[in-house]
């Protein structure tokens, strides 16, 4: 039994290797890109739209709305990153219903990669919005004493993101394997259904947390622009 699809080595050449995680990710990428391409190939801007386009629009509008609800004013700028996070994790979880499939998110390497991308994206978006100085100042809030805690928080939340997703995805696979050994046939199916739900919830949690982090990075700048806040900082 494999704990992670990383252990499923298909091809190896010294340092470079092709394992199950990478293969499954490619499959997912192909499915996502080809599906999107097929649907968006004949997008119409009229009142009447195809069902597939309608579905795609619902997904995009839904993601957009979630981002805006968190407090980001221009979700279009961040939808590529946050939307892809959600779609990738969500589709990776949904794939579990296909026999022989192994979710790439069940590998700590994948979740770590996703968490790392969030870890990089949050300051990147913050700097893009506020400038380097403006962003770095947010680490000194509310006082300079908080600087180490802010840095620890930044690192720990990245680690938490990676571990949370990995734990949830891996546990699903693990529980399934154990239950198959103990009570075959019916019960594992119920657990798999539950696993699908957990997967979607995790996709939502992961991307909404990333959104909150980005929103927080952006907001620290906008708060600074407030005249009263500005005064307080000067006096402080």
């Amino acid at each position: 039994m494999r704990l992670s699809p990383d252990d499923w080595i298909i091809w190896e050449y010294g340092f470079i290797k092709l394992n199950g995680t990478i293969l499954m990710t490619w499959v997912l990428m192909i499915v996502l890109v080809v599906g999107s391409k097929l649907i968006t190939r004949k997008l119409t801007t009229g009142i009447l739209v195809t069902r597939w386009q309608c579905m795609l629009e619902i997904v995009v509008i839904g993601i957009n709305k979630q981002i805006r609800d968190v407090g980001i004013e221009r979700p279009e700028k961040y939808i590529s990153f946050l939307g892809t996070l959600f779609l990738f994790i969500g589709i990776a979880s949904l794939g579990n219903i296909i026999p022989g499939y192994e979710s790439p998110t069940g590998s700590l390497s994948t979740t770590a990669a996703l968490a790392l991308s969030v870890f990089v994206a949050v300051p990147a978006f913050g700097i893009a919005e506020l400038g380097l100085k403006g962003y770095l100042k947010s680490y000194l809030k509310p006082t300079i004493v908080m600087l180490p805690f802010n840095i620890i928080s930044e690192l720990s939340r990245t680690l938490a993101l990676a571990i949370r997703l990995f734990g949830n995805m891996m546990s699903g696979t693990m529980i399934l394997a154990i239950l198959l050994a103990i009570t075959p046939f019916f019960f594992p199916i119920v657990m798999q259904v539950l696993g699908l739900l957990t997967g979607m919830v995790q996709a939502y949690i992961f991307s909404i947390l990333a959104t909150v982090y980005i929103a927080a990075a952006l907001r620290s700048g906008s708060e600074k622009k407030h005249p009263l806040e500005h005064k307080t900082i000067h006096h402080g």
Binding site: L3, S4, D6, F15, I16, K17, N19, T21, I22, T25, W26, M29, L32, V33, S36, K37, T40, L43, T44, T45, G46, I47, Q53, L56, E57, V60, I61, N64, E76, I79, S80, F81, G83, T84, L87, F88, P104, S107, L108, S109, T110, A112, A113, L114, L116, S117, F166
Partner: protein, 271 residues
């Protein structure tokens, strides 16, 4: 070791590529389509608003026009009614005048007819009465009516009233005067002698007398001398008859007129 760093890096790259691909093939086109649709709908709503405003304006214009037309129609209708009423009154007046004229013409012609009829009746009646009287007298008393007529004439010559007597004397004063006795019938010798005698007796002198047969004189006998005239005819008898006949005719005329008036009244009432 749960984390394989090569896989981590590979997945990072994969994820970045996926972000780029999805941005290229999913978010951009869909968001663009959404924006386009939004713009299209906004444009359509704007167009619809413009059209609605135009339509409202057009409607207002048409309503105004309609009202103007309605007002004109009403005024024209009123004018037409007025004109029709005037024309109606004119026609009625003309008809009344015409009817009055016709009525007066009818009345005149009726009067003329009445007069003509009266004269004719008089003539006919005189002739008839004379014929009847002659026949009756002859049949009942074997008396010639002419003879009796002459007798009456003589009686009148003999016993004139005072005024007549004076006039007669004055008329017969000149002996050269010719005395003419005209009659509608031939006077026999005997009767001529009796008339001569009577004149002689009245005037107390011989007179030359011309006896003239004048059929135009209706059943009478007449003596003329120097403008003076003594006559007897049956006109006195006929005057009663005439009066009676004229009365009857007048009565008929009144009835006819009343009937006409009733008919005119009915017509007016029906209108």
């Amino acid at each position: 070791m749960l984390i394989d760093w090569f896989t981590v890096i590979a997945q990072l790259i994969n994820f970045i590529i996926l972000i780029w691909l999805l941005k290229r093939f999913l978010y951009k086109p869909v968001l663009k389509a959404l924006d386009d649709r939004e713009n299209l709908i906004a444009q359509k709503i704007r167009d619809a608003d413009t059209k609605m405003a135009d339509a409202d304006k057009a409607l207002e214009t048409y309503q105004e026009k309609n009202m103007t037309i309605e007002r004109e129609r009403m005024s024209m209708l009123n004018q037409a009614k007025e004109a029709a009423k005037t024309k109606h009154d004119e026609l009625i007046n003309e008809a009344k005048k015409e009817s009055d004229r016709l009525r007066s013409t009818l009345r005149k012609s009726l009067a003329i007819e009445q007069q003509r009829l009266g004269g004719e009746i008089m003539n006919r009646a005189a002739a008839e009465v004379f014929a009847v009287a002659r026949k009756t007298l002859k049949d009942l008393a074997s008396i010639e009516v002419e003879e009796q007529m002459v007798a009456l004439f003589i009686e009148r010559l003999r016993n004139p009233d005072d005024k007549e007597r004076a006039e007669m004397k004055q008329a017969f004063g000149s002996p050269r005067e010719q005395v003419a006795v005209q009659s509608a019938f031939e006077i026999s010798e005997g009767l001529q002698a009796r008339i001569k005698d009577a004149i002689k007796e009245s005037t107390g002198g011989e007179v030359q007398i011309n006896f003239v047969f004048a059929p135009g004189l209706i059943n009478g006998i007449e003596l003329t001398v120097d403008g003076y005239k003594v006559s007897w005819n049956i006109s006195a008898y006929l005057s009663d008859l005439e009066t009676s006949v004229i009365e009857t005719l007048r009565h008929n005329a009144v009835v006819i007129e009343r009937d006409q008036k009733d008919q005119t009244g009915d017509k007016n009432g029906n209108q």
